[in-house]
């Protein structure tokens, strides 16, 4: 073999310092004197990546991290990690439509990890043990208690999430809400069979316990003026939500036997809290294709009436060309509604309400051809001659809600540089609770950076929250994982008897087992594969991880190829 002494040395990546001997020692000795590292053209780099679940989560939870802690049975640590971004695990575990689960890489092996059930399990455990939130201990918080005050308008998920983050960073926060109970839409519009009120109340209590001032029954513009708010607080976060029901645009001026979905759910909640039974006509029609419509229909079934949902969109799974024509409700909700005897009519719109005098006898529906016009506005086109009559003694419109900015016009116009932030359903396109929680988090971080006046901190935060390097199953070696079946919470039988919670939580054994199903996509779980398979002993195991000794790595790529979770990237060697 020719003398390789003359090879140039490009030892930029030396992780482990050693006395570098001449390239080719003439004296007998250890081969470690000869650095094979400069043979390589590619080199492995350990690289944490964002798993698709975190990438998709509207609240940007680090799902892999808290599942890994749960898999080690460090339940409290897992809950802290989870609630860092989302202080409502028990709530979201129940009601969130778990967008995280559909891209789960595990579905290419067997079935997706039951993330929402795990979230709920941790949330319920925290409630049962009375765990308390910890203050943030990152560089942003500092040691001093802050004197600045922040007002949060709206005690819904966005407002509470924002307040929670600010409290953890040591700011004093006052929350205003016009309702008599905190929780916003979570409190008023989610039926008990999906989210028991006591669960929500306990999670809100845990946030309030951090020392927030809660001013309920207070509407900005009526009970306190906008200017007072501006003067008393250094920053204002507006998360007023959408509480104004959208009205039916038909030629029907009577309000008799017509309700909005939100009002119905609120009235129902009031009646339930007084242990009264709401009486409904025998047949009820619900208009709308969203989750509120499905919630309303399922509640109506529980009150003993027949219900027909009139939905302008397509059913799930029929959108071969256009996602926008699929009904917006969650597919699981629809399946459960159908199982409970809810009758759904698709591609149908209400043309008029059929009345005999004031008395409502039903609605006339027609086939809807086009749901949205070319500007994207809801503007259905009906086909003549397709009319049908749906008998109903009550019609409930759940066709969306809008934000009510009355009395807040000036604040609405203000910008972040004026110290006013907007968030939640009122301004975001996605109207799911997790997105509201996420928007509260974003606003809080922006407020913290702004109050501290540190642009650098803000930029750093933006860089951290920016999600890149998504990992797909193609970069992983799924055959290294054992198959394990997914655990589900049990469904109660006789669900139409009242408003008992339908889906039960996971048992302890199931939760432990489910947490272990996480593939840890893109994040090392120390399986030792790279260490075992390195032909050059260039992977060095240390307590909690590995180092690559670039002095000897020849860049064969075996470690990257055999890494189950795709944690290792091969990158070209820079000259």
């Amino acid at each position: 073999m020719p003398d390789p002494k003359t090879k140039s040395k490009a030892k930029t990546k030396t992780q482990i310092k050693k006395s570098v001997k001449p390239k080719l020692a003439i004296n007998p000795g250890s081969s470690t004197a000869y650095h094979t590292g400069d043979w390589r053209t590619e080199e492995p780099v350990y690289q944490n990546k964002w798993p698709p679940c975190s990438q998709t989560c509207p609240a940007s939870e680090d799902i892999q991290a808290w599942l890994a802690l749960a898999a080690r049975q460090q339940w409290q640590a897992a809950w802290h990690k989870l609630s860092e971004r989302n202080p409502f695990p028990a709530t979201m575990g129940r009601i969130c439509y778990h967008a995280c689960e559909s891209p789960c890489n595990r579905k290419h092996l067997d079935t997706a990890v039951n993330i929402h059930a795990m979230e709920r399990y941790l949330g319920d455990m925290a409630i049962a043990h009375g765990w308390r939130h910890k203050p943030a201990c990152d560089t942003l918080s500092g040691d001093k208690t802050k004197t600045q005050r922040v007002a949060v308008v709206g005690a819904g998920p966005a407002g509470l999430s924002c307040a929670f983050q600010l409290l953890r960073h040591g700011y004093s926060v006052t929350i205003f809400d016009e309702q008599s109970e905190p929780g916003g839409t979570l409190y008023s519009a989610i039926p008990d069979y999906r989210l028991p009120k006591s669960i929500l109340a306990k999670e809100i209590d845990a946030i309030v316990a951090l020392g927030v001032e809660l001013r309920l029954n207070t509407r900005i513009g009526q009970d306190i003026s906008e200017s007072d708010l501006r003067n008393q607080f250094d920053a204002i976060f507006l998360a007023i939500g959408t509480r104004q029901p959208r009205q039916f645009q038909g030629k029907d001026n009577s309000t008799h036997s017509v309700m909005s979905g939100i009002d119905f759910l609120q009235a129902l909640m009031l009646a339930e809290s007084r242990h009264e039974k709401m009486t409904l006509p025998k047949k009820v029609a619900v208009v709308g294709g969203g989750n509120t419509a499905i919630d309303v229909a399922r509640c109506v079934r529980r009150l003993g009436s027949e219900v027909t949902v009139i939905c302008a969109q397509d059913p799930h799974g029929n959108h071969h060309h256009d996602l926008a024509t699929e009904m917006p409700a969650s597919v699981l909700e629809v399946i459960e509604a159908e199982a409970e005897g809810v009758h759904l009519l698709y591609r149908a719109g209400v043309r008029r309400l059929v009345r005999s005098g004031e008395h409502l006898s039903g609605v006339e529906i027609a086939h809807v051809d086009q749901v949205h016009d070319r500007h994207g506005n809801f503007n259905p086109k009906y086909f003549d001659g397709t009319e049908e009559f749906v008998p109903a003694g009550l019609i409930i419109f759940a066709i969306g809600q809008e934000a009510n900015w009355d009395g807040l016009e000036n604040l609405f116009q203000a910008s972040e540089s004026d110290g006013v932030w907007l968030g939640g359903d009122a301004v975001s396109k996605s109207k799911v609770a997790a997105a509201a929680v996420g928007s509260g988090y974003q606003a809080a971080m922006s407020i913290v950076a702004s109050l501290k006046g540190e642009q650098a901190v803000f930029d750093h935060l933006k860089a951290v929250t920016k999600k890149s390097n998504k990992i797909t199953y193609r970069q992983m070696q799924l055959s290294y994982y054992p198959t394990r079946s997914r655990h589900e919470g049990e469904m109660i039988s006789r669900r139409l008897d009242g408003f008992k919670e339908v889906v039960q939580g996971l048992t302890d054994d199931d939760a432990f087992s489910e947490a272990q199903r996480c593939l840890s996509c893109g994040v090392c779980f120390e399986c030792d594969n790279c260490w075992h398979f390195c032909p050059d002993a260039a992977v060095i195991k240390k307590t909690g991880g590995y180092d690559i000794d670039y002095d000897y790595c020849k860049g064969c790529g075996i470690c990257a190829n055999e890494c189950p979770c795709g944690h290792i990237d091969m990158v070209a060697v820079k000259e």
Binding site: T32, R72, F525, I558, N561
Partner: protein
């Protein structure tokens, strides 16, 4: 002495001159780390000897001796007899390639077994003479292209079959003979550890992919050796006193094509009529081995699926004694050339 890694000895340490992605270097490091540095390693000529002791620089952090191709087992017999005479029970390990086992070293090996020496003979089987330029050996499988079995008008690579050396070993009625490969570390570990508890001659054949001679991407060494097992072409078996005592069951039988495709040494089989016949032949060979060892039905400790599963914090590593790190001096391992 190199002690960079607190979790294993690196008996075969870094700086050796094996090709990038060498399956033999991987296998030898695994086996020697499982045995540990307190053993005497005898090496026949071959890739392993050449790349690990290049230019007076040794990668061995254990007593190591090189003999010639033919007589590694004979040298080891002498070492073992000498140790026995002095009342020592230091383990003696022979390492050889397929050339030093199947062809040139076979008679010495046979003698060593017949005489009942307490020696573990490990054959790193990369299925040709890779060190000298990929010449066919009796271990080279059927229809493989090597520099001395080029495919062409008259043949589709090697016309003969791979020598069934494990059956030859078992026919010696020896205490333990097994096959293993790098892809299933828990299996390899169990076999080495079992072999080290048995007295008498033991034989281990470790399939070691060679990116150069097999003509596959250097990153695929582990995958290729795994596919060799999963297709049934390289059954993982254990034979004690001539009787089959254990096999690795296949979780599912993969078609041989999956194994052959990534390897350039089988490239000539794809796209010609004659090649297709040989593909069928290789599939039939795999099927025959599966039937012979009952690889699909046997009641086994683990299967190809369970043996490779990853776990948080690994599935066991190497026993590390403190003696390595306490040894005085930082000089490299002493290299003794028997034929110098």
């Amino acid at each position: 002495m190199d002690s960079r890694d607190p979790f294993r000895h690196n008996v075969l340490t870094s700086g050796h001159r094996a090709c990038s992605g060498c399956g033999e270097a991987m296998a030898a490091r695994m086996v020697s780390d499982l045995i540990g540095p307190d053993a005497i390693y005898i090496n026949a000529t071959g890739c392993l000897q050449v790349f690990s002791t290049h230019n007076q620089q040794s990668s061995w952090q254990a007593p190591w001796i090189h003999s010639v191709f033919a007589n590694a087992a004979a040298v080891a017999s002498g070492v073992e007899a000498a140790l026995r005479a002095r009342g020592k029970d230091t383990p003696v390990i022979v390492q050889a390639g397929d050339g030093g086992t199947f062809d040139i070293g076979l008679q010495c090996l046979s003698g060593m077994i017949e005489r009942g020496h307490d020696i573990l003979f490990v054959c790193y089987d990369n299925e040709a003479y890779m060190n000298t330029g990929v010449q066919r050996s009796s271990s080279t499988p059927h229809a493989v292209r090597t520099s001395t079995s080029p495919p062409g008008r008259l043949s589709q690579g090697k016309t003969q079959l791979k020598k069934d050396v494990i059956s030859i070993m078992a026919a010696h009625h020896m205490p333990y003979a097994a096959t293993a490969t790098v892809a299933f570390f828990p299996d390899l570990k169990a076999k080495v550890e079992k072999a080290m508890t048995i007295k008498g001659p033991r034989f281990l054949q470790v399939l070691s992919p060679c990116p150069l001679g097999w003509v596959h991407d250097s990153a695929l060494s582990v995958s290729v050796s795994r596919l060799a097992v999963e297709t049934g072409l390289f059954p993982l078996v254990e034979l004690e006193h001539g009787e089959l005592t254990g096999v690795m069951r296949l979780a599912e039988q993969k078609p041989v094509e999956e194994y052959l495709r990534p390897q350039g040494r089988f490239k000539h089989l794809f796209g010609s009529k004659e090649g297709t016949v040989e593909l069928h032949h290789l599939q039939a060979l795999a099927d025959a081995r599966i039937r012979r060892y009952d690889l699909l039905g046997a009641d086994t400790q683990w299967t190809t699926a369970t043996a490779m599963q990853s776990q948080r914090h690994g599935r066991g590593g190497y026993a590390v004694s403190d003696s390595l790190h306490e040894r005085p001096g930082s000089q490299g391992a002493q290299e003794v050339k028997a034929d110098a």
